[in-house]
Subunit: 488 residues, 2 copies
């Protein structure tokens, strides 16, 4: 190495210019976010813009200012729309400006949350403790922040798999088990549960889908019959997965009944609470969620109803040592020391699949402190009330049909004007939804219930105001009328 | 719902105040980051500060300003240290200020990168295409951004597992396979590979650790013998994992030799390139990495040597349809439409375990455009030259011992003064390292090679200057002298 040669760095040659660019980004972002209501929820990206993203990798520097300009020109104008007050598609949160500042600060400090002795791990430890408080798990439970519900469920089901028998599954693999494991969930269970069982080498065949009642809740008697039948076949029933808020309709399984069955049958009781478990923050919803506190493990999403920007989920496992035993692996280059950088009590990499981990805890910590958890509870109630109001408006309107009970904040409905045959309704409603998206007025999504295509509004939105619901329904009726004008 | 009741929101009641707070955060962050060299690399967190993180969840709002002040008081002063020019522990990047702005903007726009028709998916598509260019995989390969190397390896090995035989592993699980699968990697393989095989239900027993030569590279002949022996036992050899940059010493397996063996034996060829594959950007290192372009799959980290803030990794799979077939699952609430929000060509959730996904692509995209990839190549060369210089300084100093060849940017050495017995060196060097951390002067980490505890400097740092290496060694010698003063 020639010490006379100048050292290069990725730090700005001109710090004041980079600082000025950051201030500009703040102003542009706040201008954009505070006026989001004035713009369409969604619009397609022009082909010319899409074309910009098919260029080869930049070998030469473009500079920060030019790269930022490309962001302003090509990225900012064509968002997904989930920051908008009339976005109710799939199930997402909006984010908040303060949490975005948190992500900036997290990237500046940029710690690796896999382990080590630094304060950021305590921030995550506290956020995880708060999540235990929300769902009623004990303070000594295991837990870590993850990317979201899919990985939170994966982490919990890994522990359930490994604890199902005496077999050392980590060493011997699933083939070391005496018989196949069986996992039980309602037929409304989220697809990520199947993906998790596939990833874990158990196969989708290990997932027993239990029938649901008219309210889309698991039938406890059917569950018990299936467990008995599987035992009779020589299978090993391992785990019951209750859902606190199904993706299709927001149904909440009878968690107390499931907990009783799990205690009696000595099965792991996992709750997929990605959608609805945080409703435990709303006093009026606690009865609906009774039994959550009896879970062996819970999967939470914080980027949904708590509006932390993507990504933020949380996996909680009552038995901390079982949780750690499923993931800890400490080779010589990761051994902990008694003091120094490599010491400390919190090594989150020993509780999940990631070794390097980002400081997503900061945005959660800042956000919870900013607003206080009681306010999140009130906002959850507000969305539930809005969903009930939407259901009322749908029921009042003869051309609309409510398709499922509204328990939490998900409303499934369809346009069903007189004179259109049932067989034509699916295609009609699908086209109607697409045109609604294209109108930019509102963005619900869709599902199919008993073969019937529905529009589906999942109101997890802290920006929605009462008039927004009426705006969507008026647009649905207008578009529906236009679509059926020829055939009516 | 009472429409006369005011609607609550998480948006600021006072937008200008929140904007001012964001500007303050920018100034504080830039003041902090641009002066990082003036502070200790690391220091322990005072117990009084740790105590702040054991308070119950905040039910009442504290407000953004107060929460931010807590960040300034309790979090910012006690970082991990990996933004510092003399942090060379484990294997991490530093981050950059512009990429941190990128994370702020990503959280403001806050799209869900699981799928849908919005421009952010094209940003990720382009970044993944650039990653293919870096390693030499074809443009039609599959790929997605993930949290880091651990999950990138997990994604790739999932595809390898599922493609090993005709068995539909997603449906039948690992028990559906006719015989156990065998995966081969060097004895220096990163622990995340074992964790991945455990998670996948294959068990750590499925990992065959192949002996290495004196340069810590896999022995191809030994590999071939092990494959033959496993076949003779009725096992199914499935995959060879080459390492481009081992965690202990930075060794790069002979990827061409491994590729040849995989072709001949019809095995999946995966490369864990988390540490070293991006060195393909440095023309002088391409020969070392020859064979990388022949891989069936590659795992990359972008938050290591490319200095994107945590988290950013990339999983690449040559056969895009095999990649998708391992993860795609499209229930009724996720079906794609022809137009509207739920259309579009890029559904990254069909290529990995997450459904909801954050916009980590933005910081990568901005960062690559800001600097151009050639500059990253030069910075990689600069770190390699620094590592060689450090090795030279170690060799020159009689009280220090170089413990492994320096191929890339990892230097393993120990303090070995005259008159100290070999048996005492491990404890001596461990205490020395802790005191070095406590001094705040420099932060290498540690490993154990052939039973010998080493200090280990992984120089993936765009802020390191030549004089920093000398500073560390002087501190090592001073602390070592103090520790041996009584016994000398």
């Amino acid at each position: 190495m020639d010490p006379t040669e100048p050292t290069e760095t990725l730090d700005p040659a001109d710090w004041p210019a980079m600082r000025a660019l950051a201030h500009r980004a703040v102003d542009d972002a706040f201008d954009w976010l505070s006026t989001v209501r004035e713009r369409p929820v969604w619009q397609p990206t022009p082909e010319a813009v899409v074309g910009q993203f098919h260029r080869p990798m930049p070998r030469a520097p473009e500079g920060a200012a030019a790269a930022y300009q490309d962001f302003l020109d090509w990225v900012l104008p064509y968002p997904m729309g989930n920051v908008h007050p009339r976005f109710w598609a799939w199930y997402m949160g909006n984010g908040t400006p303060f949490a975005a500042i948190g992500d900036f600060l997290a990237a500046i400090v940029n710690p690796n949350m896999g382990g080590g002795n630094h304060v950021a791990n305590h921030v995550e430890g506290q956020v995880v403790d708060w999540c235990k408080e929300i769902v009623g798990l004990p303070a000594d439970a295991g837990g870590l922040l993850v990317s979201g519900g899919s990985v939170a469920n994966l982490v919990a089901l890994t522990v359930a798999r490994n604890r199902a028998t005496d077999c050392d599954v980590r060493a011997a693999g699933v083939r070391g088990l005496k018989a196949p494991l069986a996992f039980y969930a309602s037929s409304e269970v989220h697809s990520c549960i199947q993906k998790a069982l596939e990833l874990l080498g158990l196969g989708s065949g290990a997932l027993r889908k239990v029938p649901v009642d008219a309210d889309y809740r698991i039938e406890p008697d059917a569950l018990e019959r299936m467990i008995r039948a599987d035992r009779a076949l020589g299978l090993i029933p391992a785990c019951v997965i209750g859902t606190a808020g199904t993706i299709n309709t927001g149904a909440v399984d009878d968690l107390e009944a499931l907990a009783r069955i799990c205690r009696r049958e000595r099965l792991w009781f996992h709750v997929d609470g990605a959608i609805g478990a945080v409703a435990a923050l709303a006093p009026a919803q606690r009865q609906l969620l009774a039994g959550l506190e009896a879970a062996d493990s819970v999967a939470l999403d914080l980027h949904k109803w708590l509006h932390v920007p993507f990504e933020a989920g949380c996996a909680l496992v009552r038995d901390r040592s079982a949780h750690r035993a499923a993931f800890a692996l400490t080779p010589e280059y990761l051994e902990h020391t008694a003091r120094g950088l490599a010491s400390g009590p919190l090594w989150f990499s020993e509780f999940g699949p990631q070794l390097s981990r980002g400081f997503r805890a900061l945005k959660v910590w800042l956000s919870f402190k900013e607003h206080g958890l009681d306010k999140f509870g009130r906002l959850i109630e507000q969305n539930i009330a809005q969903a009930r109001e939407l259901a009322r408006l749908v029921r009042e309107e003869p051309r609309l049909e409510l398709m499922a009970p509204v328990v939490l904040n998900i409303v499934c409905f369809r346009f069903r004007p007189e004179g259109v045959a049932e067989a034509a309704l699916n295609a009609l409603n699908e086209e109607l939804l697409i045109r609604l998206h294209e109108s930019g007025i509102a963005a619900p999504s869709y599902t199919t219930l008993h073969g019937r295509y529905c529009l589906r509004a999942a109101i997890a939105n802290h920006r929605t105001e009462p008039g927004d619901l009426r705006l969507m329904l008026d647009a649905v009726l207008d578009i529906g009328a236009a679509l059926t004008a020829g055939s009516g």
